[in-house]
């Protein structure tokens, strides 16, 4: 099975690991991530203004390329997922955005929201299946107590993303079980890490991250996993070394026995 793949800016720079471990894991699981040609940065945050058009076009270009190949579009970064999927829903449901975007882009075939956007975790859950994943695990992470850190961007707004229950998600916990470890459920797993605020309001972000890590540690987590480079940065920067934070793909690659393939 082949998917169009949108890595996004940070997976080519500061979050190369998130990307590299996903690619070797995909291969081990029997699917291929075919990188979209000439993709452009999604902008990091979804443009909320109803009158925003230009800021959505980079997502539309990627979505249209996946449509032309007849492939589903996979993202790994939570922010890319949030932006690209919400823009896709705008194209489907907001005639103003659809018309103006298409008038501007002048594609050979107008884009009307045909592409299905998936997060890599959704591929594991809905295309591979966690039971199948479990069968392919050669190095189960037995005994590891892991807290899933969802943050905001994978879950909200739930009505658009339909990724999981935004107040009581379980996809990452199911992933943790599939790789043989033990999920630790703690209440702040869907609270915000501070996001972009950490550039100018470092103390605010620090307070939020300390609360999240204290909460996770208090419930028994020994480490946190995330899909978002910005969550990773904020948590690591403010953790005071309490809990290690790693990308979920790193543990996936480890469980599948392909971690060493990443140099």
């Amino acid at each position: 099975m082949k998917y169009s793949y949108y890595p996004g800016c940070t997976l080519k720079t500061k979050a190369k690991d998130l990307d590299a471990y996903a690619r070797v894991s995909a291969k081990a699981l029997g699917f291929e991530l075919e990188e979209v040609e000439d993709w452009q940065c999604c902008g990091g945050v979804y443009p909320l203004g109803k009158d925003e058009i230009a800021t959505k076009l980079s997502s539309v270009r990627t979505l249209a390329q996946a449509r032309d190949k007849g492939q589903e579009l996979v993202t790994l970064c939570s922010a890319c997922y949030n932006v690209v999927k919400r823009v896709n829903e705008d194209i489907k449901n907001d005639e103003n955005v659809r018309t103006k975007a298409n008038n501007y882009m002048q594609l050979e075939t107008p884009y009307n929201g045909e592409t299905n956007v998936l997060h890599f975790l959704e591929v594991l859950r809905d295309r591979i299946g966690f039971d199948e994943l479990k069968k392919k695990v050669v190095n189960p992470l037995t005994g590891k107590k892991i807290g899933a850190y969802y943050g905001c961007l994978l879950l909200r707004p739930g009505s658009t993303l339909k990724f999981d229950d935004p107040e009581n998600p379980k996809i990452i916990e199911d992933f943790i079980r599939a790789i043989g470890a033990e999920p630790v459920i703690y209440p702040m797993r869907n609270e915000c890490c501070g996001g972009y605020i950490s550039l100018k309001e470092k103390e605010m972000a620090a307070n939020m991250c300390v609360s999240i890590e204290d909460n996770a540690a208090g419930f028994g987590a020994e480490m946190l996993i995330t899909a978002c480079p910005l969550c990773m940065y904020n948590l690591n920067k403010n953790s005071q070394g309490k809990l290690p934070v790693v990308y979920f793909t790193e543990l996936l690659a480890e469980a599948l026995g392909v971690k060493e393939e990443v140099k």
């Binding site: 996004g8 902008g43 945050v45 707004p157 609270e191 550039l199």
Partner: protein
């Protein structure tokens, strides 16, 4: 611009109808930035209803909102205060010379781990 027109502009950019608010306060209860805000999310809605946009565009809250969508997710009336906050922020940064973040500031804010995602997100929120 007349204050009334600015309130209309906020409604237009956000696509939100603030009159649907029933003042349950779930938005403020959910907000992780609540303690940092001089105008709380539920108050923000009232300010728009009352056309008091001058106070909103000068509010610190514009720069404390994380766009985490907790208030958007939990609003039982689809008023979604986070969208109003973002629209007010847009009113400010779309004016010439009103960017909240300048490129010149970046070098001293950088560290070796800081992801590109943070820079592009901040520029999109704080600058036009």
């Amino acid at each position: 611009m007349h204050a009334n027109n600015q309130a209309e502009k906020i409604k237009e950019i956000s696509g939100v109808n603030p009159y649907k608010c029933m003042k349950c306060g779930k938005c403020s209860a959910s907000c992780p930035s609540y303690n940092e805000m001089d105008i709380k999310p539920h108050q923000f809605v009232s300010y728009v209803i009352n056309d008091d946009v001058e106070a909103l565009v000068e509010s610190k809250s514009l720069w404390k909102c994380l766009s985490c969508f907790a208030c958007v997710e939990r609003c039982p009336r689809n008023v979604e205060p986070g969208k109003l906050v973002d629209a007010a922020r847009q009113l400010v940064v779309r004016q010439r010379g009103m960017d909240y973040l300048q490129a010149d500031e970046i070098p001293e804010l950088l560290d070796s781990e800081l992801p590109q995602q943070l820079l592009v997100s901040a520029f999109r929120k704080y600058k036009r």
